[in-house]
């Protein structure tokens, strides 16, 4: 069975390890993974700051690229998944030729942990890390997709030692471009989250949204914390030969 990977712009540029882990896991489950090569960004950054025309153009591009393919569209990001599911319909409503395509695409979208739990089951996960992990459920997946407990279940199924996170359902303060529009506020919210993360006692922080993780990892480093930060896929699928740059 074919599935499509929409890797997201942040994973593409900053965390390709996470994308590779997703590919390996899907292939381990006997799926044929395709990567529509002309994919770029879902348009969420522009949409969220009110630049609708730019967002519409990116959505249109993404829909055209993805609608030519078949199978579930796996996205290692709750936030980008919500963008397609919740907003493409409205965004493309004045482009009649794309409305149906947008709906088809939205209907095929699955966030990575969602696909893992709901479609694949939780068998055969690797336990990559021997260290304890704390999981941050990002807001868009948590509230937009209803992924309450998904990441935690995935980690538990892999046998990784997991620490509880206080205030887990609270925002980390990233908020997309909010993080640079209002850095003081973003940082204050982040510090509350980082206090909870550090208090969990875990050695590694995991999540399903690279965006929040970049923000939290940057904050942890600035604090001088030794904590590792990983996309959840990297913790349940071991790296393979050929993954690294030669």
């Amino acid at each position: 069975m074919k599935v499509q990977l929409f890797v997201t712009c942040l994973v593409d540029a900053f965390a390709p390890d996470a994308g590779r882990a997703v590919v390996h896991l899907l292939e381990d489950h006997g799926l044929t993974v395709e990567f529509p090569f002309d994919q770029t960004c879902c348009g969420q950054p522009a949409f969220n700051v009110g630049h609708r025309d730019e967002a519409r153009a990116m959505a249109a591009h993404t829909v055209k690229v993805l609608d030519e393919t078949e199978g579930s569209i796996i996205i290692p990001s709750g936030s980008c998944a919500v963008m397609m599911i919740e907003h493409y319909g409205d965004l493309l409503s004045d482009q009649p030729e794309l409305v149906a395509a947008g709906e088809r695409v939205a209907g095929r979208v699955r966030e990575f942990t969602q696909f893992l739990v709901d479609d694949l089951g939780l068998d055969g996960l690797d336990r990559v890390s021997s260290e304890s992990v704390v999981f941050h459920p990002s807001c868009h997946g948590l509230r937009g997709l209803g992924l309450d407990g998904y990441g935690e279940r995935v980690l538990d199924a892999s046998g990784i030692e997991r620490c509880e996170l206080g205030g887990a359902d609270e925002c980390c303060g990233f908020g997309g471009l909010f993080s640079v529009e209002m850095p003081e506020v973003s940082t204050a919210i982040m510090n509350t989250k980082l206090d909870n993360i550090e208090a969990s006692g875990a050695r590694t922080l995991a999540g399903y949204d690279l965006s929040c993780l970049m923000h939290l990892a940057g904050g942890l480093r600035r604090r001088g914390s030794p904590m590792q930060v990983s996309h959840i896929a990297e913790l349940i699928v071991a790296d393979r030969d050929g993954d690294r740059v030669p």
Partner: protein, 466 residues
């Protein structure tokens, strides 16, 4: 009334990490816990919230009909209705009523809409005295401060501040014991209630079919203000009407639970007209001022849904931004997520361009909203308006244009990725401590990751081809 600082960002930067906002955070979190407890013990809450939303949206969709019906009903039970186009008209009418009944002393119960129209200063200009009687609002008035929360106005004040204030302004011995502070306020306000000539209240809900107005309070001041003085003036935003008593009942099911976690507030006061023939007490006159003040513009705009709000304050309590910056940073009387939507919608975006951006779009507000207002969608709608009318952040436009250019041209996109990887290889340790331009806002508190040596696109091409 508006803060002298120009922008939300400037005000917010001054508020974060202060004792004031730590007090707000603690209070907001406590209210969040109380709300959650009351939700958990009441399984009917979900269906009540669905119905509450239906009622509010239905009312807004037929607002002209229900307003007419409400006005006729108030008249039928002996009340007088005044339709006020703006704050000036509302204030002028109320001043005239005060003049007509020779009111010297006026008592008020807590009302956000009278804060909105700045009624107090307008009344005081005529040499009459007007006293806020809600404990929180009384403290605000004494300290010449502004409310920082639509339900709990002094969430930002500590008991020590209030103790010092009472000592200074009321000439009592210093105490920071909340029980004693409460007794001082009770003693001070008691004779004022009984002597007052006129009482002014807001309206939580107006019932169209009966002409009733409903006021919910905990302290009892709302009842005193509407019972003891000879004249009662109620000021109501035009959207606060509901069709029937049954609809009012549904709203009451969700209001207190969402606001404070109470099943009902201590007093749910339903007033239908002035004192009747056989009534031993109550006001001789009832005036209801229905306020426009820009609301029709909201009703006809992309943020119309915000008029469904019932002012419970639950969205403030869960909002990560509100918790860190408090209510004053928002610059207007309405703060938090509801304020970030309502103020620019009602008073205009000019000077408030940044307010719609004062949110991470985390959606915690929608989760707790008793009428399930899609606040993040409304914020994005206002951001669109800002992007078209007056950009809140100058760099957003050029940045989004450039980004869109690359993101709609796959070859340009991949070239950008390759350039990123090249730059990334030059960064030692994989992290950047300092970025230029808007990026400096990121690195003020966070390191920034260098792009990977090999993008996912590059890896895929190497291993799978295109």
């Amino acid at each position: 009334m508006r803060s002298p600082l120009e922008t939300f960002v400037e005000r917010a930067a001054g508020e974060v990490n202060t004792p004031k906002t730590r007090a707000v955070d603690a209070g907001a979190r406590l209210l969040t816990v109380k709300r959650l407890q009351s939700m958990t013990e009441y399984p009917e809450m979900d269906s009540m919230r669905d119905r509450a939303r239906e009622i509010r949206l239905h009312t807004l969709a037929h607002l002209d009909t229900y307003l007419e019906q409400f006005a006729d009903s108030v008249g039928a039970v002996g009340g007088r209705v005044f339709f006020a186009g703006d704050a000036a008209e509302a204030n002028q009418y109320i001043r005239q009523v005060a003049e007509d009944v020779s009111a010297q002393l006026i008592v008020k119960s807590k009302s956000m809409v009278t804060e909105e129209i700045e009624l107090n200063s307008s009344i005081e200009a005529d040499g009459r005295s007007v006293v806020e009687t809600d404990l929180g609002e009384f403290i605000i008035q004494l300290s010449e401060d502004r409310p920082s929360h639509i339900v709990a106005p002094v969430l930002h004040k500590t008991r020590q501040e209030i103790g010092a204030l009472f000592e200074r302004e009321l000439g009592v011995a210093y105490t920071e014991d909340p029980v004693e502070l409460n007794q001082i306020a009770r003693g001070h306000l008691r004779s004022l209630f009984l002597r007052a000539d006129m009482g002014i209240s807001g309206v939580n809900f107006g019932v169209a079919s009966t002409g009733s107005i409903c006021l919910v309070t905990n302290e009892g001041n709302g009842r005193l203000v509407t019972t003891a003085p000879r004249v009662h003036v109620a000021v109501m935003g035009m959207e606060r009407v509901v069709p029937t008593p049954g609809d009012l009942g549904v709203m009451l099911e969700v209001l207190a639970r969402s606001a404070t976690g109470q099943r009902l507030t201590a007093y749910t006061n339903i007033v239908t007209g002035p004192r009747r023939k056989d009534d031993p007490d109550g006001p001789e006159e009832l005036h209801v001022v229905i306020l426009d003040n820009g609301r029709p513009d909201v009703l006809g705009s992309s943020t119309a849904e915000i008029l469904a709000c019932i002012r419970c304050g639950a969205c403030l309590n869960v909002c990560p931004v509100y918790r860190e910056v408090g209510g004053h940073a928002y610059g207007d009387v309405y703060s938090g997520p509801i304020g970030a939507v309502l103020s620019p919608s009602l008073f205009g975006l000019a000077g408030r361009e940044q307010l719609p951006y004062a949110s991470t779009l985390c959606g915690a507000c929608v989760d707790v909203c008793p009428v399930r207002i899609e606040i993040p969608d409304l914020l994005v709608a206002l951001r669109e308006r800002a992007a078209n009318e007056s950009e809140a952040f100058g760099w957003l436009g050029p940045a989004m244009s450039a980004y869109e250019f690359a993101a709609t041209r796959p070859r340009a996109w991949r070239a950008g990725l390759s350039t990123g990887s090249l730059l990334g290889r030059a960064v030692r340790g994989g992290w950047v401590g300092r970025l230029p331009g808007p990026g400096s806002a990121w690195t003020s508190s966070r390191d920034f990751p260098a792009p990977a040596d090999q993008s996912f696109h590059a890896w895929w091409r190497r291993n799978h081809g295109t």
